[in-house]
Each structure stands twice: as C-alpha cells, then as structure tokens.
C-alpha cells in the first residue's frame, strides 16, 4: 500500500502541487480500514469526509425497490467515490461496500473547505475530476436509456451460440462489452435483465439460451 504522501502525489486532485504542499496536506489525511463486506457509506447518509481507495476495491451499488442490487462501479486504488455529496453537501446517492480488505484515505470536510480556499489549484483539479466523471456518466446514460445495449448483447449471444457444449466460442463479459461498445457493468446488467426475463440462464462457465425466439425478438432490425 502506498503511503499518504505517495498517494497524494499520484492523485488527480493534487496534480501540480509542490512537495511541500503535499507534505502539509498529508498530515490532514486520515486512514480507515474496512473488513470484507463492511460498508464505507450508506445511501442517504452524510459522509464525514472525501474518501479515496488506498488499497482494495470498493463496490458502489444501489438497491432497487425489489431488493435487487445494482452495481454501478468498482472503485480501485487511487479513485475517490464520494466527491459529489462532499461538494454539494447532500446525502450519499449510493452504497459503498468493501469487496475485500480495504484501506481508505480521507480528508475531513472542514479540512477540505480550508484547502479549497488555500490552494486555488485544488478547485481546478476538482473540476477536472468531476468533468471526467460527468463524461463517463453521460456515456452510461446513453447506453442505459435506449435499451439498445440489451439488444446488442442479445445479438452477440445469438451470433456466438455454439453448436454443442464443446465447440462454441468462449466470451468473457469484458469481450461482450468491447463487442457491444459499452462498459462491462452494463453488459452485466443486461445479462441479469435477460435472465430475469427467462430468456437466458447464467451457469458456471455457460450462458444457456432458454428462449431463442424471445432473444431474437429483442434484436433491433437495424443493428
């Protein structure tokens, strides 16, 4: 795991900061350890500070009214995951849970306010971070709004259907994401949708098409 100072050096939030500035900021960084499954944030709750993943993986998810979990993204070391509620002072829009042992670094909200006034470059960097996130979210909205991803995934499944259990091509969810021009998380969600609709069944090593005609009806004619 990187030290607080090493972490700050690589964080886009502190891009362009001098070693002296980073050293000063590192004294304001707190550390928090989480066990597997422990919640870092609950939806609707107010966080004490801006949180970064230093070690391990944090799962961001929402739970539907039916109790189903929807994974929004997996946050790896170096990434922050509650900057929006930190800056708009609202509640967290998502749940955040440790997928294994996780170490978080954080900056208390009050300290962050002081830093934003003290270091104008920090505001510029925050804008860059948030803009990148907006671009990613816009691409996700495009994918999720138009149902076309489900259609594309359905088409990929039909095109890669093996004749027997031994001869079909083997596809990962990452492969399908690349083929459908979308994110792996969106493919995962599409497969879950198709399974809920009883068109496919996810098994270990196999995606079983249970209703080929139903899947074909989902494929948009112009794709």
């Amino acid at each position: 795991m990187t030290t607080k100072l090493e972490f700050l050096k690589t964080s886009p939030f502190f891009d362009g900061f001098t070693p002296v500035q980073l050293e000063a900021i590192s004294h304001r960084v707190f550390e928090k350890k989480l066990a597997r499954g422990e919640m870092a944030l609950n939806e609707g709750a107010y966080a004490v500070g801006l949180l970064f993943v230093a070690e391990g993986v944090i799962k961001l998810f929402k739970t539907s009214a039916e109790g189903k979990e929807q994974i929004l993204s997996l946050m790896r070391p170096g990434e922050s995951f509650n900057d929006v509620p930190m800056f708009d002072r609202g509640p967290s829009p998502v749940n955040a849970q440790a997928l294994g042992v996780v170490t978080l670094y954080g900056i208390q909200r009050n300290d962050l306010d002081v830093m934003l006034k003290q270091y104008p470059a920090l505001s510029q960097n925050v804008i860059q971070v948030l803009v990148r996130r907006i671009r990613y979210l816009i691409s996700l909205v495009e994918d999720l709004s138009f149902r076309s991803v489900v259609s594309r995934v359905a088409k990929i499944l039909l095109e890669n259907l093996g004749d027997t259990a031994a001869t079909g091509p083997r596809l990962t969810q990452r492969d399908m994401a690349a083929m459908a021009g979308t994110a792996r998380e969106v493919v995962s969600r599409s497969l879950r949708y198709l399974e809920d609709e009883k068109l496919i069944e996810m098994r270990r090593h196999h995606i079983v098409i249970r209703n080929k005609k139903g899947l074909e009806q989902l494929v948009e004619p112009d794709f």
Binding site: G100, L157, G168, T172, R174, R184, I209
Partner: protein, 67 residues
Amino acid sequence: MLTPQIAPEKCTGCGLCVGVCQNDGLHLVNRVVVFIGESACTWCGLCEAVCAAGAISCPFEIILDEF
C-alpha cells in the same frame, strides 16, 4: 476443472483480484496471480471485473437448451 484464465504476462501483481475473491481462490506468487485449484470458484467474475490489466478472465460458452 475449469478455472479463471490468467495471463501472467499481463499481471501487474496489484493483488486486487486476490482481495475480492470470496473463496480465497487466488494468491500472489512472486508478484503474479495464480489460481489455487482446490477452492470452489463460483465464476462470479469479480476478479475479471477489478483487473485493470485484463490479466484474468472468466469466459462463458453460449449454448442452447430451451424449455
């Protein structure tokens, strides 16, 4: 037994997959991930999802078995 496919040359040894595996099926040996065969892999795909280097994958075969 089919196991997650590992491309050692792509593995950066970051260990994220080791941490997320709920069955303790992955270990780092000399900074490269290896699958420990006796564990019961559920093919959940989390290791594939967290690997930024694309070094580990859980491929699916697509087959037909209609109702």
